[in-house]
């Protein structure tokens, strides 16, 4: 019996101790009419196959994994391919990390607790903020938690209005909407400059619907288009107007770009983002891990678990869950969030990644992303029909405007086993936005790409686009 260690004799003996005739009898408090009737197909389990051997399942899964292969990937948009140190997952999936639970019994969980304390410290250092929590589900839902937090925290503004630029990932904006809308919070869009793909920091006020106060301004860096926002100016503007600043940042980029805690005069108040680039495979989008850090004075508004360093009875240092009074299991309906299980194993992976890479290593990865991206840009610039609508000053993503429909191009690239990027128009809901992003492809290049691969990709992309456009021209001529 898979995963059941009982022998028939033991079952008999156990039933004897219980005083029951059969295991079935142990379910006698469940009303009979509710019970699954294995005979009936409506209340049975027919849609679930019988159990299979590990060998058979291994065969099946291997075939399915093989089907999807390991294509050459130039898509980013929130999920990034980076090299993952070989030692990372071998250590992270050690049984003692993998099969432990949330460290409620601190003395029996010092491993996990110290790892998370180190994680918090690294995130805080990377963002140049004071404190971090033990993780959130992912970057998108993390941004929602940051918004809720800002609304709670900004007692001065007492506003439920959040300024949410359109340079934030559209899926992130959708997730935030889903999560915060039931609490009466409104997300107000801020348009971007058509030439730079960034927020116009100089005449922000004029873009707003009204002059009322707002709880926070969200600033993405780099933004969804890969472009760099004027974070200092934006931060100061928000603070001047009584709003908090939520920095939504890529952690790899933080090796080179100014840390949120150092934006403008006073620094961003909250930094949030997706830590997947730090050692976690793309895996169809999850499990990833959201991180959140803030200034010390906001610590009691942080959602989720927080680990503190303390001492034991003998004065020896140790770690434990702290500030639990914010959490749902103590504070119940008044908790800062309903989050309970977070992304512990991913936090372990991130901690390992940052330890293996170190400050220098992360800088090199980031610099290599920048350099490789510029190489591809240079290669693509050779085709005059290609446009770079938001310029070329980017971190590791940029928008390329094709002269042919992105859909068709991506499909053709898929046939070459290439994930060519993200179709920007497809992610939009309203007609105007779709039109604005027509033919726009969001391309990402990380340190994982060799010069040959960049060459291959640019040649293939150019060839496909030429092919399609000449085809449509000849069709045009024919019709």
């Amino acid at each position: 019996m898979p995963y059941i260690p009982h022998t028939p004799n033991e079952v008999e003996e156990m039933l004897r101790v219980i005083g029951a005739e059969s295991i079935e009898e142990l379910f006698d408090e469940i009303p009979q009419e509710l019970r699954i009737d294995l005979e009936k197909s409506t209340s049975g389990l027919d849609a679930i196959p019988l159990g299979q051997s590990e060998m058979a399942v291994q065969r099946l899964l291997s075939e399915k994994a093989m089907l999807d292969g390991t294509p050459l990937c130039f898509a980013g948009g929130g999920a990034y391919e980076h090299h993952i140190p070989a030692a990372l997952w071998e250590v992270a999936t050690r049984g003692e990390f993998y099969s432990a639970y949330t460290p409620y019994q601190a003395e029996a969980s010092q491993g996990t607790l110290q790892v998370v304390y180190e994680f918090q410290s690294m995130i805080a250092n990377l963002t140049a903020l004071d404190v971090s929590n033990a993780s959130l589900y992912d970057g998108a839902s993390g941004l929602a938690e940051a918004v809720l937090m800002a609304v709670r925290a900004n007692r001065k503004a007492k506003s439920k209005r959040i300024l949410m630029p359109e340079t934030v990932s559209p899926v992130y904006r959708q997730v935030v909407e889903t999560i915060v809308k039931n609490q009466g919070i409104t997300l107000e869009s801020i348009d971007f400059e058509q030439t730079s793909g960034t927020i116009n920091a100089t005449n922000l006020r004029s873009q707003l619907d009204n002059d009322e106060s707002f709880a926070a301004l969200v600033i993405p860096q780099p933004n969804y288009f890969g472009s760099l926002e004027e974070v200092h100016q934006l931060t100061d503007w928000a603070h001047e107007h009584g709003g908090l600043v939520i920095a939504q940042v890529n952690p790899t980029a933080l090796a080179l770009l100014e840390a949120p805690g150092s934006w403008g005069e006073k620094g961003a108040d909250i930094a949030v983002g997706e830590a997947q680039p730090l050692g976690i495979p793309m895996s169809s989008g999850g499990p990833f891990i959201g991180f959140i850090a803030c200034k010390q004075q906001l610590v009691r508004q942080l959602p989720g678990r927080i680990i503190g360093r303390t001492v034991d009875l003998d004065g020896k240092p140790g770690f434990s869950l702290t500030l639990q009074a914010r959490e749902q299991h103590i504070r119940r309906s008044k908790a800062t969030s309903n989050i309970c299980t977070n992304q512990g194993l991913m936090a372990t992976a991130v901690t390992l990644y940052l330890s293996f890479l170190g400050a220098d290593g992360l800088q090199k990865v980031a610099a290599s992303c920048v350099a490789n991206t510029q190489k591809l840009i240079a290669l693509l610039a050779q085709r005059p029909e290609f446009k770079f609508p938001f310029g070329k000053t980017v971190f590791h993503e940029f928008v390329l405007e094709l002269d042919v429909p992105v859909d068709t191009v991506l499909e053709r690239l898929a046939q070459e086993d290439v994930v060519g990027g993200i179709n920007l128009a497809q992610q939009q809901n309203d007609a105007q936005a779709i039109d604005r992003h027509r033919n726009q492809l969001l391309i990402c290049v990380t340190e994982t790409k060799t010069d040959e691969e960049l060459q291959f990709f640019s040649e293939t992309l150019i060839a496909i686009c030429s092919d399609i456009s000449s085809l449509s021209q000849s069709e045009g001529e024919l019709s």
């Binding site: 849609a47 432990a100 949330t102 304390y117 180190e118 009466g184 997706e274 793309m282 299991h329 309970c340």
Partner: protein, 506 residues
């Protein structure tokens, strides 16, 4: 002379092994950073370099390997943590989910290069639908609590869609998990608590009083967090439905009834599952979890996206375009896909026969442990009831007689190599242990656990300090939680900053 003369050393922090002059390894590309930075505007670049630890590769491996050994885990210890379903995490689930074809897939990869993983997700959706007796399942929620959020948000969307927006209350039993009330509030609801009677059932009269036109719904677990099955569930469902409310099922305890009874058949409108419990995906020291939700017909239009559909062309993503009333997205993409894969593999390995066995043996183990402990004169919260997959022991007599708390028993258990059961939850039972052995533990392990509890009770009688000062055998003694909260030290760099300030003063 005492033999034990070496104090177990605290593991140094990774930062203390760091030296910013250490040169880097084969783990990063070889590149001229300054030159690459010329591409970035100077005023947007980082001024103060980050101070991540610079440590040799061996030293990193050694540090974290040693740290890992300081954890209790299923792979090393019996871990009867009630409500958490700490059962064996089959390794096959991990190795197969880590196949490169799965881990390398970008979430936006074209569906033509994603049929493999999409077929897995589609199959899992269907299996979960069947196992819970619901109409349809969406798997994007990333943990139980997010599943709860999605579920209650759907209840809200449903009422709003029906222009029934005076409904502003969610009913929750006093024994409910903290995520239930917290979720209701996140969805903009007021929480109404109802009491439990002395049999562990819901107080029907109290419920009756509380129900009304303002009732949006009720959140229940069944079996409840008290370890007993709510026998009047059909009556309760009718009461709520008749009042126009909906029923939410917290699936954290699904392990108790898998293959035995379906939440859908009990009358629930929406359910979340904790795949990291019932479907044995790893708890990972605190996640990642996965909290798919299933719904009855009336809530189908509101399910969160994306889901996986199937037609002649193959598998495709169901998005807001197909489901305009959807509550929307909960994660950037499809939730914790890697965890869903592990659950899928587990489900294939178990099959419907194995699923039924889960409930059979989880229940057998719990009832056996309950009876053995009763025979040893421990007091149960609900001695007359069948245990579900878990049950509650109360140590209030021991507290009275010996002055030892449930926490003291818990800490002493650690000394004997057992992870403690859940303590002080549910709060309504004094000095309680919520004990969940799970189906993957052997009779031998249960017997040894009983013997140990008996032994600890003897110790409580003879030398209560052994309990009060426990643990002795672990990497640290009992920790000062008050200091942890008062003198917050959450960040090494910050604490060191303060520390160096201090030291510069004298």
């Amino acid at each position: 002379m005492s033999k034990r003369i070496i104090e177990q050393q605290a593991e140094t922090l990774i930062f203390e092994l760091s030296d910013q002059n250490r040169r880097r390894s084969s783990l990063s590309p070889d590149i001229d950073v300054d030159k690459a930075c010329l591409e970035l505007p100077a005023h947007l670049q980082r001024k103060k370099k980050c101070e991540l630890p610079q440590v040799g590769e061996l030293q990193v491996v050694r540090h974290y390997t040693r740290l890992s050994q300081k954890n209790f885990s299923i792979d090393t210890h019996f871990y009867p943590l009630g409500s958490c379903t700490m059962k064996y995490n089959p390794r096959a689930c991990n190795t197969l989910a880590q196949l490169p074809g799965f881990t390398a897939r970008h979430p936006m990869a074209h569906t033509s290069m994603s049929q493999g993983v999409m077929s897995c997700l589609f199959d899992l959706q269907n299996m979960l639908t069947e196992a819970t007796g619901m109409q349809q399942v969406s798997m994007t929620p990333m943990a139980g609590a997010q599943g709860e959020f999605a579920g209650v948000a759907m209840i809200k969307a449903y009422h709003e869609h029906n222009n029934d927006s005076q409904r502003n209350e969610i009913i929750v039993p006093d024994a409910a998990h903290g995520t239930n009330p917290a979720t209701a509030v996140m969805c903009g609801y007021k929480v109404k608590e109802i009491p439990t009677n002395d049999q562990g059932d819901i107080d029907i009269e109290a419920l009756e009083k509380i129900i009304g036109p303002q009732t949006a719904g009720i959140m229940l677990t069944n079996p409840s967090t008290l370890g007993v099955f709510e026998r009047k569930i059909k009556l309760i469902a009718d009461m709520i439905h008749n009042a126009g409310g909906l029923l939410y099922y917290d699936g954290a305890n699904l392990n108790a009834i898998l293959g035995k009874v379906k939440p859908g058949d009990m009358g629930f409108d929406v359910i979340h599952m904790n795949l990291h419990k019932t479907f044995s995906t790893p708890h990972g020291g605190g996640g990642p979890g996965s909290g798919p939700i299933g719904v009855s017909k009336r809530l189908q239009p509101f399910l969160p996206v994306p889901m996986v559909g199937h037609n002649e062309q193959g598998y495709y993503w169901i998005s807001e375009k197909e489901l305009p009333l959807s509550i929307g997205r909960l994660s950037a993409w499809m939730g914790n896909v890697g965890i869903l894969l592990r659950a899928y593999i587990y489900a294939l390995l178990l099959g419907r026969d194995g699923m039924k066995r889960v409930a059979d043996f989880a229940t057998l183990n719990a009832n056996y442990l309950l009876k053995r402990l009763m025979a040893a004169d421990f007091e149960m919260a609900f001695p007359e009831r069948r245990a579900s997959h878990e049950f509650i022991l109360t140590l209030k007599n021991e507290a009275k007689k010996y002055g030892t708390s449930a926490m003291d028993f818990a800490k002493r258990l650690l000394d004997y190599g057992y992870h403690a059961p859940t303590t002080y939850f549910p709060l309504l039972v004094p000095e309680c242990f919520l004990i969940e052995p799970t189906e993957t533990e052997s009779k031998d392990a249960l017997d040894a656990f009983v013997d140990t509890l008996i032994k600890i009770r003897e110790e409580a009688e003879q030398s209560p300090d052994l309990l009060k000062e426990a643990p002795f055998e672990l990497p640290v003694r009992r920790l000062d939680d008050v200091k942890a909260a008062r003198e917050l030290d959450l960040n090494y760099y910050l604490s060191e900053k303060y520390f160096s300030k201090d030291s510069s003063q004298d």
